[in-house]
């Protein structure tokens, strides 16, 4: 079965600084990969997704992620963080041609200092 690891429980950055949130997945074939964001008390909103093609994926709110097959990683990046980016971020993996149910990581809480 597929699995997702988000090694950082909390990340603290200053407003305007760059951000990278890590995500590693475990699956033998090509996965479908997602990043979601959850603001306090809300459901999850999709930031971006990777199915195939260009390994650098652009998403909403200025986020991007890069799929690296050799490292089994799909890290989320943003060049300049805004205070409104403070939220919980979840990486998820689905399996192409198999069980499509998305499996989620444990989440990374982003704290933004002014």
């Amino acid at each position: 079965a597929q699995s997702v690891t988000q090694p950082d429980i909390h990340i603290t950055v200053s407003e305007g600084a760059s951000l990278e949130l890590r995500c590693n997945y475990s699956y033998g074939a090509t996965p479908y990969l997602f990043w979601y964001v959850q603001s306090p008390g809300q459901g999850l909103q999709l930031l971006l997704k990777y199915f195939s093609g260009d390994t650098l994926v652009q998403g909403i709110k200025g986020f991007e992620a890069e799929f690296k097959r050799s490292q089994s990683s799909f890290n989320l990046r943003k060049p300049s963080v805004h205070w409104s980016d403070a939220a919980e971020y979840f990486c998820a993996v689905g399996v192409a041609g198999g069980s499509y149910i998305p499996t989620f990581g444990r989440g990374t809480s982003l704290i933004v200092h002014p």
Partner: protein, 112 residues
Amino acid sequence: DVKVTQSSRYLVKRTGEKVFLECVQDMDHENMFWYRQDPGLGLRLIYFSYDVKMKEKGDIPEGYSVSREKKERFSLILESASTNQTSMYLCASMGGATTEAFFGQGTRLTVV
């Protein structure tokens, strides 16, 4: 805009009560899911459904059941609520393997 609607944002129930959490989607999706979210544990799958009247257990089905009588509605049932079921419950729907899941706003359930 696509929409997944959960009937309650907050619920407080007593131990032993039967609890119904309702979820409705307007996207004609075949697949619907119930997740439970707890701090430090992420989202854990309780049950999912890939068609009307079809259901499959997820990772933590104990103490829960589900019902899907119509395509747009997926209900989660706590047969006899217990305090360890206090949690955030998230419903999601999905059109197929190459699409993303769409989430409701969540129901914060407290069992006292």
